[in-house]
Symmetry: C2
Subunit: 189 residues, 2 copies
DNA sequence: TCAATATATATCTGAGTGATATATATTGAG
DNA sequence: CTCAATATATATCACTCAGATATATATTGA
């Protein structure tokens, strides 16, 4: 099995609690959806292979009516493998940003349309900041005594710093675009 | 053909200049590599399909010795299709951030290792800021009269705002991690 | 002279996303 | 009460995309 990051996302989730594939998908959505995503198409095959590698164990809980719950738990080897990966440095890779791609070719269309795009992007950052603040309140209450809390807050602060910076960038960019709109009228208003 | 973003990255590049698949790959690397990437595995099949759709034309330039140059140029329809896409709003999608994923599970390993990771990340932001400043000087000289310049600078400023914010986040986070290292000694120093 | 680099097209494997299929229980609006 | 929506739960498929590799030649510099 390759060093796919999904493997470690799954191991990491199981390090917090034993759970099913369905739980993992849900938990990822609740806790790390601001910087990570996993699909069933990844989770289920990975869980199978993790069992083969003896990094996790599988227990089937029968439920009346509903499908069986396949609950996966980290083994000692699984935890070691997670630690090994956590200790390795991550090489950041370029994330595709469609919004910036459009702006890069922005000269092709009218400033007015570009302004609309940036304004919408600004709105998104405002909503994100509200969301982050809500999450902060929530986890500070819910996990007050959890030793994971400081780390979870760090990832949250990351998002806050970025969104605040993007808000400033939007304001700066809107000024520039408005200047362009006033002088050149190549594409009309 | 689906609405794959690679299609529009290719159309966008050709809107600046007619060029070969090889040129496109190189130009993407030179101009938008901070927020976009394209592979040959995408570029060559897409160029073929763009010709079928009559969004681009293909001209073969024979060269002695070297392989033929297949030069692609945007048609009027191609430019319209690019404009149509540029006018559409982009829905931002979550970018996976491996660094944050590791930090989220940071409690599993020693603060010392996490500190090293954040310090390295801080270094990366410093290098990025240097790089952005160099690119700024370069394109302001090279494309002083190009009407694309303001848009190119906007995407550059985006990177600068983000990296500056991340630098501040790193400093804040290092303070927190050092506090954790001092109090709890669960994993040793 | 020879290695490294640049020019140039093309394909393949594997990672990852999103949609879909299948099946049942619960919950709330009308 | 009924029906739609939502939640629980596992699983697969099609498609996008990245990265490596194959192939072939010209130029540049140690």
């Amino acid at each position: 099995m390759k060093e796919t990051k999904s493997k470690y996302a799954v191991l990491g989730m199981l390090s917090i609690n034993p759970m099913s594939g369905y739980d993992i998908k849900k938990r990822v959505g609740e806790s790390i959806s601001n910087f990570w995503s996993e699909s069933y198409g990844q989770i289920y095959p990975i869980l199978k292979r993790l069992v083969d590698e003896e990094l996790v164990t599988k227990t089937v809980e029968r439920q009346s009516g509903k499908p069986d719950r396949h609950v996966y738990a980290l083994t000692e080897r699984g935890r070691k493998e997670l630690h090994r990966w956590l200790a390795e440095g991550a090489v950041p890779k370029v994330e595709r940003n469609e919004f910036l791609l459009k702006l890069f070719f922005g000269e092709e269309i009218s400033p007015t349309i570009n302004i609309k795009h940036v304004e919408k992007y600004r709105e998104i950052q405002l909503h994100l900041l509200e969301k982050y603040e809500m999450i902060k309140q929530e986890i500070e209450n819910k996990h007050a005594d959890d030793s994971n809390l400081p780390y979870w807050l760090m990832t949250l602060r990351y998002g806050q710093h970025v969104s605040q910076a993007l808000l400033r960038w939007c304001d700066e960019t809107l000024l520039t675009l408005n200047k362009i709109r006033k002088v050149g009228r190549k594409h009309g208003v």
